[in-house]
């Protein structure tokens, strides 16, 4: 039986004119993806629309919901904590994400050097990134403990008096960035794959022409991995806007039971943490939904802006 790849339909004709074969294929295809279709309506489309609807209401779960128009959005703009959470998240996006990309890139460069034990080092660099987030956050809370913590002890040995890290509003975010840097293994692997795709002949030719290591790095390596940098940047920004577990565990660890999300002094009140607090601690579901929609829009805008700007700084071979 020969397979006709193009169904004998002209564009614009009604589906009723499809051949019986095409129609059978359609039903078979739909049968195979039927679970996903149900899932799409139940777990994507419905919640998306419901969330949009809730964002215009006041809704405290147990009480009936009240339509309040755009009041949630107006209140958000007037809410200093909303801006605080945006600032905190922005701090992580602007400082944390680029820092983690630079560190990952340097680590990938290091792992790409041919030295004995290379494969063991690759495992060591990668392992922290698969440690469950709650476990790694607790471990770092312990390491950053101002009094008996490992880091401040090591700093004291070289004569530096370490800060209070997680308990100090100024150092809480840098603490979280440090914790993040420990788990950059994923990004390292992606960069490493990119480095290994760089044709060796290109490097050798540049070396013959007298290009120094530094020149080769700036003129060849960095431009050639720029599409990977773009990918990592977008993934990193999206993940940072949804940053939650680490901040939650940190606040819970340094404040008494049940109090203070965002501790110390709201310095770790990130966007998603504030959203969770409004929705699941204060049960203000309408307010939290409005926040969720703003988050969605922010993520879309960031992604589009990054993609647009990337046209100027990414390099594609043969393009």
């Amino acid at each position: 039986m020969a397979l006709t790849n193009t169904p004998r339909v002209h564009p614009g004709r009604s589906p009723k004119r499809w051949s019986p074969r095409t129609r059978r294929q359609l039903w078979t295809g739909l049968a195979f993806i039927s679970l996903w279709i149900c899932g799409f309506f139940l777990f994507n489309l419905y919640p998306m629309l419901a969330s949009l609807y809730y964002s215009f209401t006041e809704y405290h779960i147990k009480q009936p919901l009240v339509w309040i128009g755009s009041l949630n959005y107006v209140n958000l703009v007037r809410d200093p904590l909303f801006w605080r959470s945006l600032y905190n998240t922005g701090y992580m996006v602007v400082i944390g994400v680029p820092l983690s990309l630079i560190v990952s890139f340097i680590c990938a460069l290091l792992l790409n050097i041919k030295i004995p034990g290379q494969s063991i080092y690759r495992v060591i660099y990668f392992l922290p990134s698969i440690v469950p987030v709650v476990a790694s956050t607790l471990l770092w809370l312990w390491i950053l403990n101002p009094n008996s913590g490992l880091l401040n002890t090591l700093l004291a040995e070289v004569g530096i008096r370490g800060p209070n890290w997680t308990r100090d509003p100024f150092w809480a975010k840098p603490s979280l960035i440090l914790l993040g840097l420990w788990g950059v293994g994923n990004t390292i692997i992606i960069y490493l794959a990119g480095l290994q795709d760089i044709p060796q002949t290109l490097m050798e030719a540049a070396e013959l022409d007298g290009a120094s290591w530094w020149q080769r790095l700036w003129k060849i390596t960095i431009p050639l991995v720029s599409p990977i940098t773009l990918f990592n940047l977008i993934i990193g920004v999206i993940a940072t806007f949804q940053y939650f577990a680490q901040a939650y565990v940190l606040s819970a660890g340094i404040s008494p039971v049940g109090s203070g999300l965002g501790a110390p002094l709201n310095s770790t009140l990130f966007y998603s943490v504030y959203l969770y607090q409004q929705g699941f601690v204060y049960l203000k579901m309408g307010y939290a939904s409005a926040q969720a929609w703003i988050l969605f829009v922010i993520i879309l805008i960031c992604t589009v802006l990054l993609l647009r700007s990337s046209e100027h700084w990414t390099y594609y071979e043969g393009g």
């Binding site: 397979l3 050097i113 660099y125 607790l138 999206i238 939650f244 660890g253 929705g279 969605f296």
Partner: protein
């Protein structure tokens, strides 16, 4: 750095070579040292976790901290294990075993002569410490009642995490494999458009769907404090795994399926008898990633599970820390137990992990 200038004339070709070799060697040595130094940054926290997990209660807060865990020296006196103390009485130092403490005074006895006891202020006594790994912390952490009166131990959390992970894996495999086949191997009108929709769902942040789904699951279906909100959605496919499987299915030669079609096999038979057996490696990849995801997940369980008897490990560990803020050795023991399955899994499925990460840049 590399464009060294060797003055010609004085050096022969031979020394030039030697200079180069030495420079090469030095450069390699320097880079090896750097790889090692950065490696320490990644490795040391693990060692610190393990070291703390094996420490005794008083050793945990020792300033400055030590790497090797120290424990009290214990002696057998009669049928009891008693800790040894170095006690100073009127300038004389003796080693005595501590029997009990009351109001700042300790009742001490000499192991050699247990009948005679002495009452001495605790501030004149300091424990005799020896290097000792307290493996008991692991057992204690697992058996510790994390909330008094509920009968919940860390074992409960391990079991709950396993239940959620296993059902999530089943759900993901059952729903994603057929969907991927439908997108990869069957030509139907509108397929590519629908597939773009699949990919688009990856853009939707968890926070947007979280609230309506929470309300739906808890108030409409009454599923709070059950694993159902965590498990049921996995039975309806997810974009990432569908995409992964579709890419694989597309690499299988069409001739295989055609031969079966000539024999009159249905699409489902082709999928079941030809495609699935060929795609075991990819299915294994998805299994590993789903396990990792379910084992790690914090926010989902945090929202739906409020009864400690239903907590998964991620929640249990966090709760443990809230309830027992000072038991760092047991907390680190529990964190180790939480981490070990993942590390073991990694060593068995290294290639899978690396491939999966390259493909997706997973984990946020």
């Amino acid at each position: 750095m590399a464009d060294w200038a060797v003055t010609p004339g004085r050096s022969t070709g031979h020394t030039l070579l030697a200079v180069r070799q030495v420079r090469r060697l030095l450069a390699r040595l320097a880079s090896h040292l750097m790889v090692m130094a950065v490696g320490l940054f990644f490795l040391v926290p693990f060692l610190w976790m393990l070291s703390t997990a094996l420490k005794s209660d008083q050793d945990v807060f020792r300033v400055p901290p030590t790497w090797l865990p120290h424990d009290n020296l214990y002696v057998q006196v009669g049928d009891q294990q008693l800790p040894m103390y170095r006690v100073t009485i009127e300038g004389h130092t003796r080693q005595l075993a501590l029997q009990s403490i009351a109001e700042g005074y300790g009742i001490f006895l000499d192991p050699a002569n247990p009948a005679q006891t002495e009452k001495i202020r605790m501030r004149y006594a300091e424990p005799v410490l020896v290097v000792g790994l307290r493996w008991r912390n692991f057992v204690d952490a697992m058996n510790r009642a994390t909330r008094p009166g509920l009968g919940v131990t860390f074992w409960t959390y391990v079991q709950n995490s396993l239940i959620v992970a296993i059902f999530s894996i089943i759900g993901t495999l059952v729903s994603c494999a057929p969907a991927a086949y439908g997108f990869a191997r069957i030509r139907w009108p509108g397929r590519d458009l629908v597939f773009i929709l699949v990919l688009a769902t990856m853009m939707l942040p968890f926070q947007v769907t979280m609230i309506p789904l929470y309300i739906f699951f808890t108030t409409r279906l009454g599923w709070s404090n059950t694993f159902l909100p965590l498990i049921v959605p996995t039975f309806f496919g997810n974009a990432f795994d569908i995409f992964l499987l579709r890419q694989f299915f597309r690499t299988i030669p069409e001739e295989l399926a055609d031969a079966a079609r000539v024999d009159g096999a249905s699409e489902f038979r082709i999928f079941w008898n030809i495609m699935l057996p060929l795609s075991v490696p990819v299915l294994a990849t998805i299994t590993v990633f789903t396990f990792l995801w379910a084992w790690n997940d914090f926010q989902g369980p945090l929202i739906y599970l409020t009864d400690p008897r239903r907590f998964t490990m991620a929640l249990g560990l966090q709760d443990f820390q809230q309830q027992h803020a000072v038991a760092w050795n047991q907390l680190m023991a529990a964190a180790t137990i939480f981490t070990v399955p993942i590390v073991v899994l990694f060593f068995f499925a290294q290639r899978t992990f690396i491939q999966g990460v390259k493909l997706t840049g997973l984990k946020g």
